[in-house]
């Protein structure tokens, strides 16, 4: 069981190595002439005004929250889908009821206006 995952570890490691290699080569052979104007934050030629790392639009939080709810519930559906072929009809209906409750949650968020971009 565990040996199946070794390949994934190796591949992810290779991904890091293969992606950093061109960056390392770049840092060796590329010219380097830093200049205060060049290292400035890019913005239509003017200095940026104010801080960038600030609080942002609440709408993004709401979509993330709706996503988290859905994602967790869908993860519960995967075992049901895998076992689907062995399940009796009653258990399938139970899964369907679960999905309908999920859809009810979506409908609630929709009616509350959480899905509207304002």
């Amino acid at each position: 069981m565990a040996h199946e995952w070794i390949f994934i570890g190796i591949l992810l490691l290779l991904g890091i190595v293969f992606a950093s290699l061109p960056l390392v080569i770049n840092s060796i052979i590329a010219p380097r002439k830093p200049h205060p104007l060049k290292n400035e934050t890019y913005e239509c030629g003017m200095e940026t005004v104010g801080d960038t790392w600030i609080q942002f639009k609440v709408q993004y939080y709401i979509f993330s929250l709706v996503f988290v709810i859905f994602d967790v519930e869908i993860v519960f559906l995967f075992p049901w889908a895998v076992a689907y072929k062995e399940l009796p009809f009653f258990a399938v209906v139970e899964g369907v009821i679960f999905i309908i409750i999920l859809a009810g949650g979506l409908l609630y968020a929709w009616r509350k206006g959480a899905l509207d971009w304002v």
């Binding site: 190796i10 590329a30 934050t41 960038t52 942002f56």
Partner: protein
């Protein structure tokens, strides 16, 4: 010494390598790790060099779509344009803005490539050739792909640039939203195959799942395009609004690595679509010659890739509220409805039905959903039109 089968050449070579290494007197676990290292090295090279060809193909084909010639200077038909671009990018100065968070700024592109490459570990090229056939393949591919979202957020946030930050906000709200219909669409093949193992899903497709689950396939394709962030869902790097989105501040090869990750991600989504809905390596004579599976797999992958390109050059960019509406008010309810329908209908079909008639019944049930969806959409648009003409009448009366 293991026998070398021409029909399954690459796997035979893999076995031969293991045999040769164990003849040297190494421990079996060391041999297995060395074998996996070599296989992973080849797979990573394949994955990172394919985008060079895919980028050329996309530029060439989209040029023909727009009545241009496309790259045609470097090599025959401009085939070496990608290599020229890499040479150019790698010799460019790498500027890190003084106000950026340097560590996170540098980790971003590397993490993006890593996450996409990780998906290829579970994609079956032939019936025997798959990196590792874990029993949670589909879930794993979604989970590892989601690290890419984190990488984009890291890159955008660490740049300390307002355009980049806006780009990564849009990225997170888009990629995270479209993951929901994408996973629900993937639940349907899981349900039909009874397994999350990629190779089992391909083996179960006596009839391609696109026949039994056409709506799920379409939803997966649409949300896949959104996951990759291409037109019409490219508002996370909309040039006319936020310059280039999350990678405004990246220059030189770091920008190149972002591009590589993006193109590889597009290719990966096509590959998953081909595996899960179009029967992966299935095709004539694969039973005798499993190696042929690679050809079928790549043909199907490029077919989906070109389909995505066609959509990209045809459809204009959507607005952010349209993007969210399409996802939460259309794709998510539709995918839930299709999931419920598939689960109930497939259970009601008697067990002794053949795969063909089973797929046909599911296809017809899908068509019922298509008709119902169109009726609902027509009702909604009529209501909206009526509201609009009422408003117009009110304005006119004033």
């Amino acid at each position: 010494m293991p026998e070398v089968r021409v029909g399954d050449l690459l796997v035979s070579l893999y076995d031969l390598l293991g045999w040769g290494l164990s003849e040297l007197g190494l421990y079996p676990s060391v041999v297995s790790i060395l074998q996996k290292l070599v296989a992973g090295f080849i797979l990573a090279n394949f994955c990172l060099l394919t985008p060079l060809f895919t980028i050329w193909l996309e530029r060439k084909v989209s040029a023909r779509f727009q009545d241009r010639l496309g790259p045609n200077r470097v090599g025959p038909y401009g085939l070496f344009q990608g290599f020229a671009d890499i040479v150019k990018l790698i010799t460019k100065e790498d500027i890190t803005p003084a106000s950026a968070d340097k560590t996170v700024f540098n980790i971003g592109p590397v993490l993006a490539v890593m996450s996409v490459l990780g998906i290829w570990a579970v994609i079956p090229f032939t019936s025997t050739m798959v990196g590792t056939d874990i029993n949670v393949g589909i879930l794993y591919s979604v989970a590892v792909g989601a690290i890419g979202t984190l990488a984009i957020m890291m890159g955008g946030w660490a740049s300390n640039n307002k355009y980049a930050l806006l780009g990564s906000f849009r990225t997170v709200s888009q990629l995270v939203s479209y993951e929901v219909p994408m996973i629900i669409a993937l639940l349907i093949p899981t349900l039909l195959a009874g397994s999350m193992r990629m190779n089992t899903i391909v083996q179960e497709q006596q009839v391609w799942f696109i026949v039994a689950a056409p709506i799920a396939g379409l939803i997966f394709l649409i949300s896949g395009i959104a996951e990759v962030g291409r037109a019409p869902f490219d508002l996370l790097e909309a040039e006319s609004e936020i310059v280039a989105g999350f990678h405004v501040e990246y220059t030189g090869m770091k920008f190149g690595v972002w591009m590589l990750a993006e193109f590889l991600h597009a290719f990966t989504v096509s590959a998953i679509t081909a595996v899960v809905f179009l029967g992966g390596w299935r095709g004539p004579w694969v039973d005798q010659y499993p190696l042929l599976g690679i050809v079928y797999f790549l043909i199907k992958t490029y077919f989906v890739s070109m389909l995505m390109l066609w959509i990209r050059v045809t459809v204009p960019r959507v607005r952010i509220d349209q993007m969210n509406d399409l996802n939460w008010k259309f794709l998510v309810p539709l995918s839930l409805a299709v999931l419920v329908m598939t689960a109930l209908v497939d259970k009601l079909i008697p067990v002794d039905f053949s795969a063909g008639s089973r797929s046909l019944i599911l296809f017809l049930a899908n068509m019922v959903i298509v008709v119902a969806t169109l009726l609902v959409l027509r009702g909604v648009s009529r209501k909206e039109q009526a509201a609009q003409s009422d408003l117009q009448a009110e304005v006119n009366s004033i």
